[in-house]
């Protein structure tokens, strides 16, 4: 573990182990809440809260948890934080709570969080688990905001997070982007672009 650095682990979470494009986990919320940048940020924030909390606790208790019961233990730890953020959002951010709907409690079965607990937090120190959570969380945020921006911009003609009009373009927007079809198409195109890049790199690297 001597070659692990904080910045190295952080950026790994964003690029190499990008939760959506590399690990292909946690697709459900990505497509469902990216109808606007505001929702995307909200979801990413909630997920980061849970990810941080669970990574810290799992890492702190990693020597105490018997291996055979680890998955149920992880789920229960994650559940605690999910219930917390659920109640906090219901109280302090009602409009966001309403638009995210059932996807807040569904963070508990988000493969990203369980996956990180299993693959990273249970095997590394608290310090690096925090960094990993921040890295993966940032990766998640970037992807969510990217897709949310595309869908909101092309779907409504403007990006308006939390009441601030960020940018608007003078095209006729199409509600298709807000509908499920738009979600699938956006992520299909983005994945194709990522694949193309990967194949090109592999070809160049091999020769």
């Amino acid at each position: 573990m001597a070659d692990m650095t904080i910045s190295g682990e952080y950026f790994r979470g964003i690029v190499k182990d990008n939760p959506i494009f590399s690990l292909v986990l946690g697709l459900c919320p990505v497509l469902a809440v990216t109808t606007s940048v505001e929702n995307a940020i909200g979801m990413a924030g909630a997920a980061l809260f849970v990810l941080l909390g669970s990574n810290v606790i799992v890492s702190a208790l990693r020597k105490q948890i018997p291996p055979i019961t680890r998955i149920p233990m992880f789920i229960i730890i994650i559940c605690t934080f999910v219930t917390m953020i659920d109640m906090l959002m219901e109280a302090y951010t009602p409009p966001l709570y309403k638009s995210l709907g059932i996807f807040i409690p569904l963070i508990v079965v988000n493969c990203i969080i369980i996956g990180r607990a299993e693959a990273y937090a249970s095997k590394n120190t608290v310090k690096y688990s925090i960094v990993d959570a921040l890295g993966i969380g940032t990766g998640f945020l970037l992807v969510l905001v990217l897709i949310g921006a595309i869908r909101e911009l092309l779907g409504t003609g403007a990006i308006v997070p939390f009441g601030f009009k960020l940018i608007s373009i003078p095209i006729t927007p199409s509600t298709f982007m807000i509908l499920p079809g738009g979600a699938f198409m956006t992520i299909g195109v983005l994945m194709a672009m990522v694949n193309y890049n990967r194949i090109r790199k592999a070809r160049k690297g091999g020769q």
Binding site: V24, L25, G26, L27, C28, P29, L31, A32, P72, I75, I76, C79, T80, V82, T83, D86, M87, I102, P105, L106, V108, V109, C111, I114, F176, L179, P180, G181, G182, A183, F184, M185, I187, G188, V189, M191, A192, M193, N195, Y196, I199
Partner: protein
Amino acid sequence: MEDSLFSIAINGIFVKNFLLVQFLGLCSFVGVSKETKSAAGMSAAVLFVMIMASVASFLIYTYLLLPFGLTFLTTISFIIVIAFLVQLVEFIIRKFSPPLYRSLGIFLPLITTNCAILGVVILNARLDYNFTQSLFYGISAGLGYSMVMLFMAAIREKASSLKVPEAIEGLPHAFFITTLLSMAFVSYFGVIPT
């Protein structure tokens, strides 16, 4: 809630289809829909677990959480129940029917973290459905999931012999097919006046 059983069924299968409209259960969808055989196994497992989970979670919500004002324990108790049911069913199937285990048992552990299952039971609780309504919603959600899963598997099996640009092969291709399927379901919007 006043929803009739019929409207619950139409909602669950078509209007608010779990996969294509509500975006629940997608990870398993893109992973397992490559061949009809595994898609059929997964669908059967999902339907089965959805029915059991709907019943069990309804009982826990109505008789244990609501009366004592502990509704914040919904998420955690539901997930415990789902994990428990899945594990129990896996034991039983593995013991009593090895062929059934080989075809559908291997999907059971994947279902524990499937958003669709937890989604159904949480929706049942949030929509305040009674026992029959909950059961019906569970069945309809499972049927809707199976239907889309089998469509997708049939299409993807045929599509696998098509020549597509390398960057599109695999997941992006699956997503484009899903786009078309989901747009077909948009025509059901408004069928049930809410």
